[in-house]
């Protein structure tokens, strides 16, 4: 259906269902209970999940398929954000022109940077992209301050022209909207002890992500995707057969840059501010982590990885000692203090440490990322296919025989 194979279509439906029901799924604990700390179902974080999901999907098209590890993808994210905010300032608060410009600008820059960087491969390619991204960061942080507002970040002001929105100076800052629907509008649903929040912004991002995900599936399954995979497995051999691989890799680079630009534009649509930190190398590193954590080269892996990292950044960093004391209040004082001391380094400012340990565990034990973890768990519970079962039974039989 929709030009997808049966398996891919099921995957797409599953992702769509999970995304659209995220406000329920991410709020499993009743509001006000001790575990509500772990709820992630509030609009801002859910938006970040899906937006960074888009970013990681795009990155995966380059890294997962061609194996080219770009270490400067955050530059496109930042470019997208700056373009979107400029659109809000100059043209209109509608998100559509903003997103279009973000994608175009990011695509153009990706074309230039890709054209130069793709002359090298392997580590040299990574270093080149890193250099470009750091250059973009330095420019945005100080040199181009009139364009980017430097360290403070580009913001809306009351005096912006906003040509299409019709004159008149507003008394308060306008909000981003889609034909009248305000992005920050939310509705809440109280069901017993639970409280669910649905944001317009989140659902808009979710739809955009589903479209991006669908396109990614199509790319993965297309002859073009096959060509990219061939580049990954042996580029030299491709060259020897007389095939010029550079147009393919460049196309992949530009597509993935446009995905990043789209993600950056969406970030600005949800929260009209663009800061230079978005382009810093740590941000580029983050998307690499997301993709590897989730499973590079798989369809759904990058989305899972993005969600995981954003969850840690936003939820774990907010657990402090006072919260821990509340949790362990029932225990005797000495034990309570002891437990708090033990856990202290891993929460609050120590969330990086927890994430690092987890990343190590994943890379060591599940080289295929979270997706591989899921597959292993799935294999444990799945009813064995009759044939496979037969083969295993035979293998077990063979093994047993010599021992006798």
């Amino acid at each position: 259906m929709l030009g997808l194979g049966k398996k891919d279509f099921t995957l797409f439906l599953a992702v769509a269902a999970i995304t659209l029901l995220a406000p329920f799924i991410l709020n499993p604990f009743p509001t006000g209970s001790g575990l509500a700390q772990f709820n992630a179902g509030y609009p801002d974080l859910m938006q970040r999940f899906v937006i960074y999901g888009i970013f990681a999907i795009g990155f995966n098209i380059l890294f997962g398929l061609t194996g080219y590890l770009s270490f400067g993808h955050a530059a496109f994210l930042g470019l997208g954000s700056y373009s979107a905010v400029w659109m809000f300032k100059l043209l209109s608060m509608n998100v559509i022109p903003a997103l279009i410009l973000s994608v175009i600008v990011a695509g153009l820059f990706a074309l230039v940077i890709g054209y130069i960087s793709l002359r090298r491969s392997g580590i040299y390619f990574s270093i080149l992209t890193l250099a470009f991204a750091q250059m973009a960061y330095a420019l945005a942080y100080s040199v181009l301050t009139p364009l980017t507002n430097g360290e403070t970040g580009l913001q809306l002001t009351l005096d912006d022209p906003r040509v299409l929105d019709g004159g008149g100076r507003p008394t308060s800052l306008p909000v981003t909207e889609l034909f009248g629907m305000e992005m920050r509008d939310t509705a809440s649903l109280g069901l017993g002890a639970w409280d669910f929040t649905f944001g317009v912004g989140f659902y808009f991002c979710a739809v955009v992500m589903l479209i991006s995900f669908y396109l990614a599936i199509r790319i993965f399954r297309s002859p073009f995707g096959m060509m990219l995979r061939a580049v990954k497995s042996n580029q030299q051999r491709m060259n020897y057969t007389g095939l010029n691989t550079r147009p393919y890799t460049l196309a992949a680079f530009v597509i993935s840059g446009m995905y990043a630009g789209l993600a950056g534009g969406l970030l600005a649509c949800m929260d009209p501010l663009a800061g230079a930190e978005r382009m810093q190398w740590t941000a580029s590193g983050e998307v690499v982590l997301m993709t590897i954590l989730g499973g590079a080269g798989t369809l759904i892996g990058p989305i899972l990885g993005a969600g995981m990292i954003k969850y840690f950044e936003n939820i774990f960093s907010k657990i402090n000692d006072a919260v821990l004391h509340q949790w362990f209040a029932a225990l005797p004082d000495g034990l309570e203090d002891f437990l708090v001391t033990i856990i202290h380094p891993f929460i609050g400012k120590g969330w990086h440490l927890t994430l690092g340990l987890m990343f190590m565990a994943v890379v060591i034990f599940l080289p295929g990322g979270l997706v591989e973890g899921g597959q292993r768990v799935g294999r444990l519970f799945r009813r064995r296919d009759r044939k496979a079962g037969g083969a295993e039974a035979q293998a077990a039989e063979q093994r047993r025989t010599p021992a006798e």
Partner: protein, 464 residues
Amino acid sequence: MSRHFTRRGVLKSGAVAGAGLALPTYLRAQESGFTNAPTGDTVILGFNVPQTGAYADEGADELRAFQLAVEHLNGEGDGGMLQTFSEQNLDGTGILGKRVDYVTGDTQTKSDVARASAQSMIQKDGAIMISGGSSSGPAIAVQALCQEAGVIFMAGLTHSNDTTGKDKKANGFRHFFNAYMSGAALPPILAEQYGTDRRAYHLTADYTWGWTQEESIKAATEALGWETANTVLTPVGAGDFSSYITPVLQSGADVLILNHYGGDMVNSLTQAVQFGLRDRQVNGKNFEIVVPLYSELMAAGAGEAIKGIYGSMNWNWQLQDAGTQAFTRSFGEKYGFPPSNAAHTCYVQTLLYADAVTRAGSFNPCAVVEALEGRTGGSGSLEGIDSASNEGFLFDGMGNGPTLYRAADHQCFKDVLVVRGAENPTTPYDNLEIVEVTPVEQVWYEPDHPQFAGGDLGECNPGA
């Protein structure tokens, strides 16, 4: 797992989903008329400080101060400045009878992350006020967010003119002083010490705060008759400043002004001293170094290098007034060392917010804004300043003498300290000594001063 969608199944799940969505949905904010109105018997404040990155030390100290303020508001501990505050509305029963609870977040000194963290405090934890920040970029970004979301922002350490200048917002308030005030307080002392015939060389951190500070200091020193030999921008977090310091030697300048903060200042100052700048004679005068914005934590980091170096501060624990003593005592008893001026401003901001809510009788941000502008009691103006904008909320007993929260731009006006690195510190904590308390008249400016022009408070926003 069955992959078949039966008609019955689809109808069933569709009906359930439809029923769920048809349940009465409501906008949370509409009940009370403002965002995150506290409903139970607690009220939640959000403390958003850098816990990792270059300003983590400052952030940690701010967090200590916030925790202390919450204790005092809830009637725990010795009450600190509650007794010395000129407004005696806070009695240790929380705010408006609601117990104060708080959530914390890590800004990583990045505008983006700071906004995400503040957003989660507002959307998830229901924070009614956000405070913190240890750098101007994140502070300005979070201030704008709070304006949009309809909660109050009480800025922590932010020294850039823009926070209450071109980026000021109706929902945002700053107690800390700014670069202009440093520029007004410091140069007279410099002229007194070093004479009016000097050539200054600026090394400036290459971002908004650095520029505003350079602009302010340069304007003030040139007004005294100093020449500016050169101004050089240095990248933030450069680490090694030797290549920037060598040209100073050839420039014919006899004063080096370091517009750096945090780790940058520690490095640039230490290296300048190691290069022997302070032992040099130029134009027949001793070469001098000036650090316009000081903090205790930076002074501790620079060690020996800060001896005799002048700078300015918002507050210092060695002041002798009752408010300072009360705060320093309770902070020292709890943590074992004196508070920094970052801690002081955060502590004071929390109490000021609590007091404003009490005077307003409501958590509604617009009522709080009115209270902090002095429109619901506590209104006054500073003595000795003849200006139409000299009005707002006047208070005392918070360690800075009489202080005005100016209604026109939500900036606090108070005396500014000029300090010097102590020659013979006896403990690790008295490494700075107070040279002069510059009276507030001298650091006063009009809201439309060119260095602050271009902004607009706009209207207060209570959220939905």
